[in-house]
């Protein structure tokens, strides 16, 4: 019964919340989308928290996504023991990196007076959920060996069954408590995601890598305003400064959308 609540109802509720609220917040309260960086108030300790945390968790998360996307190939990869050991050790190391990061971040948040001044209740909840998640993950990696393989054969079928709207609990029912708690906590994470600062991960500025350096915004449609201009103009944004390696001529406006 509780399993049904935790692993069928909660997942769908969490995903629905995550999608609906995230979109609604982006459209109606876009101002609140920010990294909410506190580096300005405290920078030194942040380095030892933020950097290991982000690098560790991104690699671990990528591992989970790969396992979910291509479980057969992961199992095939793990067929050779040496490769299995390398994969597992890598996962554990990055998991530990994330653990070091999140612990430093928590310590920093509660010891620095300036940081406490910008700490919301949601920040505390987020940090606790993430801490529990990383501890459970590292614990699983240490005590329930070869998770990269059994993840592919037990958790992945369950997650996929959620996606196909035919939830099937039989693969995860026999899993150890720590693993089941890890899954449950993941859904809690998903549920709080849209209400927290975590939304910053959706606005990572990848576009920056190829956009022109300078942005100019005009009133209205530039093409209409300069009717008989000698050359066509972009609508809103144009480049005036080239980047090294850009093939675009220095002075020519570039349409960027």
């Amino acid at each position: 019964m509780l399993d049904n609540l935790f692993y069928i109802i909660l997942p769908y509720a969490a995903v629905t919340l995550a999608i609906v609220i995230t979109v609604q917040r982006y459209l109606k309260r876009g101002f609140t989308y920010s990294s909410l960086s506190s580096q300005f108030l405290e920078s030194d300790e942040l380095f030892y928290g933020s950097v290991p945390w982000h690098i560790g968790i991104l690699v671990v998360l990528l591992g989970h996504v790969i396992g979910f996307a291509i479980p057969r190939q992961v199992l095939w990869f793990n067929g050779v023991p040496a490769r299995l050991y390398i994969l597992e050790t890598t996962g554990l190391l990055f998991g530990l990196l994330a653990l070091v990061g999140i612990v430093s971040l928590i310590v920093r948040r509660f010891t620095s007076a300036r940081i406490r001044a910008v700490t919301s209740w949601m920040d505390v909840v987020v940090l606790l959920v993430l801490l529990v998640q990383v501890i459970l993950g590292v614990y699983t990696a240490l005590f329930y060996r070869w998770g990269s393989s059994w993840y592919a054969t037990s958790a992945v079928p369950y997650l996929r069954s959620l996606f196909t709207l035919q939830p099937d609990l039989k693969m995860i029912a026999p899993l150890p408590m720590a693993v089941k708690a890890h899954i449950l906590n993941a859904f809690i994470f998903l549920a709080i995601f849209p209400f927290s600062r975590l939304v910053h991960m959706l606005v990572v500025p990848i576009h920056y890598l190829w956009r022109p350096y300078q942005l100019v915004i005009w009133n209205g449609d530039r093409r209409k305003i300069i009717g008989q201009a000698p050359r066509p103009r972009p609508k809103t944004v144009e480049a005036t400064v080239p980047v090294t390696g850009d093939t675009v001529a220095a002075s020519r406006p570039v349409v960027t959308g």
């Binding site: 990294s35 960086s37 580096q39 380095f47 920040d123 005009w218 300069i226 090294t244």
Partner: protein
């Protein structure tokens, strides 16, 4: 030729009395808010001094501005493909302590303190933590050379001087300083725009005002590092960056920005400049000693028929061109060559220009008596207490010639007016002085008038800002086309959870 309009500014430093009225006007209008208490979009510094934030000119520390290294200009903070690696922690980000921790006083204690033998005091408390703090720094802690062994002596610009010159500068009888009011330069080649990963910072096409779209800013803080003038600020409460908006709501209704309007010394001038956007890259790429000339070169003559035709083709209308013809900025910068950009070597093509200060013209003492004999025509300039190398480092990227010309010209005009009003000058000497700086008597008179007797309408020639064009866009989707304003919010500026 791609003619565009820029609202540009001139600050006449010879007239600045360092009263900070501009700073207060700005603070009251724009930054008297949580998270913005430490921000001074307009601040006034004493030079020599380390300024605000401390030693902001030292780019080996702050990594602001562009650098060429002989090749293509690059952001000094590093190429963006590598810079994204710093997204989790920006190693070159100034901290609150580089500015100062804002504080107020516990005034209630004055009323609520129990009766006792001592007078109650109002203790200073931090506006970040609300806890008592020991105040260690403020935004103008080095005002009027106070604490000069700590502040003025560490001015990064003193590098341009010889050890003897430095020693002389701080001789007790020779102390000399001037004020440097600073706001955002609304650069043509702004680093903050180039560094913003979110693309939230932009230049308004019609008037060149640089704004941060508050709704697209995600608080990655790269602009704070990139701006060499440190005029973008991170709001620690909302998690967004903010900057001077040149009071665009005032400009759009024909009023001068608050800091201009309130200026007691009337040192500030504002007007339109036409420039050739096709030459931005060229102008920012020349060697240091040519930067001032290159920047002047790209500013176009509003009387030139060819320029006017190109401007009209680009959607700049006749009334705007008329305003550009009367622009005091055009006169000071291009015609008279009196106003110079601050730290042109940052290569952002700043659009705020400074008339370098003449300062006390008495140069050296001889046995305790000031030597005021002018054995040479321009000796007070050449032997000024503040070495010209220092001013050159500030206003012409180390090239002494533009600064020398600006100072000599001001001095020649003083001689000219002294001849007219006091009558104790030899007309031949005055003629020679004016000739040496290439200034006619008519021009000298004009400079004198615009410097000493300008009315509000002379100082602020605000081109029509054409809000009606922006209003027309309401038929289309105005927010999609224009981007959101750099200040002011369509929703409450609450901190995200």
């Amino acid at each position: 030729m791609d003619v565009r309009l820029q609202i540009a500014m001139v600050f006449h430093l010879d007239k600045c009395i360092g009263c900070h009225t501009c700073s207060i006007a700005c603070k009251n209008v724009w930054t008297d808010r949580k998270g913005a208490e430490y921000m001074w979009w307009n601040n006034v510094e004493t030079k020599p001094g380390t300024g605000y934030p401390t030693a902001w000119e030292d780019q080996s520390k702050y990594k602001g501005g562009w650098e060429t290294n002989g090749g293509e200009p690059q952001l000094k903070m590093g190429r963006r493909s590598l810079r994204v690696l710093n997204i989790f922690h920006n190693p070159d980000m100034p901290r609150m302590d580089d500015y100062y921790e804002p504080w107020t006083y516990k005034y209630e204690d004055l009323f609520n303190a129990p009766e006792g033998a001592d007078q109650p005091t109002a203790r200073p408390i931090s506006m970040v933590t609300n806890k008592p703090i020991d105040i260690k720094a403020g935004p103008n802690w080095d005002d009027d050379l106070s604490g000069s062994p700590v502040y003025a002596a560490n001015d990064p610009n003193l590098e341009a001087l010889t050890p003897e010159q430095r020693e002389e500068l701080f001789d007790i009888e020779r102390l000399v300083f001037f004020y440097l009011p600073r706001i955002c330069n609304h650069c043509l080649n702004a680093c903050c725009v180039a560094a913003c990963p979110s693309g939230a910072i932009y230049k308004r096409g019609e008037d060149g005002i640089v704004l941060i779209n508050q709704e697209r800013c995600r608080g990655w803080r790269m602009c704070v590092t990139a701006c060499p003038y440190k005029k973008t600020f991170y709001n620690w409460s909302t998690g967004k960056s903010e900057k001077c908006i040149l009071c665009f709501p005032r400009l759009e209704t024909g009023q001068a920005p608050a800091c201009f309007h309130s200026c007691v010394g009337r040192i500030r001038y504002l007007g339109g400049l036409l420039y050739d956007a096709d030459r931005i890259v060229e102008a920012m790429s020349v060697p240091d000693d040519q930067l001032v000339d290159a920047q002047r070169e790209m500013i176009l003559d509003p009387f030139d028929p060819e320029v006017r035709a190109a401007a009209l083709r680009n959607g700049i209308d006749e009334r705007t061109l008329e305003a550009c013809e009367r622009s005091p900025v055009y006169k000071y910068v291009k015609e008279w060559k009196l106003a110079l950009p601050l730290h042109a070597e940052f290569r952002t093509l700043p659009m705020l220009f400074y008339v370098p200060p003449l300062l006390p013209v008495m140069a050296k003492t001889d046995a305790g008596v000031y030597d005021s004999s002018n054995e040479e025509l321009f000796s007070p300039i050449e032997k000024a207490r503040l070495p010209m190398e220092y001013l050159a480092r500030l206003f012409s990227a180390g090239n002494i010639d533009p600064v020398r010309l600006a100072l000599k010209k001001q001095y020649a005009i003083r001689l000219f007016k002294r001849m007219e009003t006091v009558g104790d000058m030899d007309p031949l000497v005055v003629k020679q002085a004016l000739a040496e700086v290439g200034c006619s008597e008519a021009e000298a008179e004009q400079i004198y008038r615009l410097t000493s007797l300008p009315t509000v309408d002379d100082r602020y020639v605000i081109p029509p800002m054409h809000r009606e064009e922006a209003m027309q866009m309401l038929n289309d989707d105005v927010l999609a086309d224009k981007g959101e304003a750099g200040f002011g919010f369509r929703e409450a500026p609450v901190r995200g959870a």
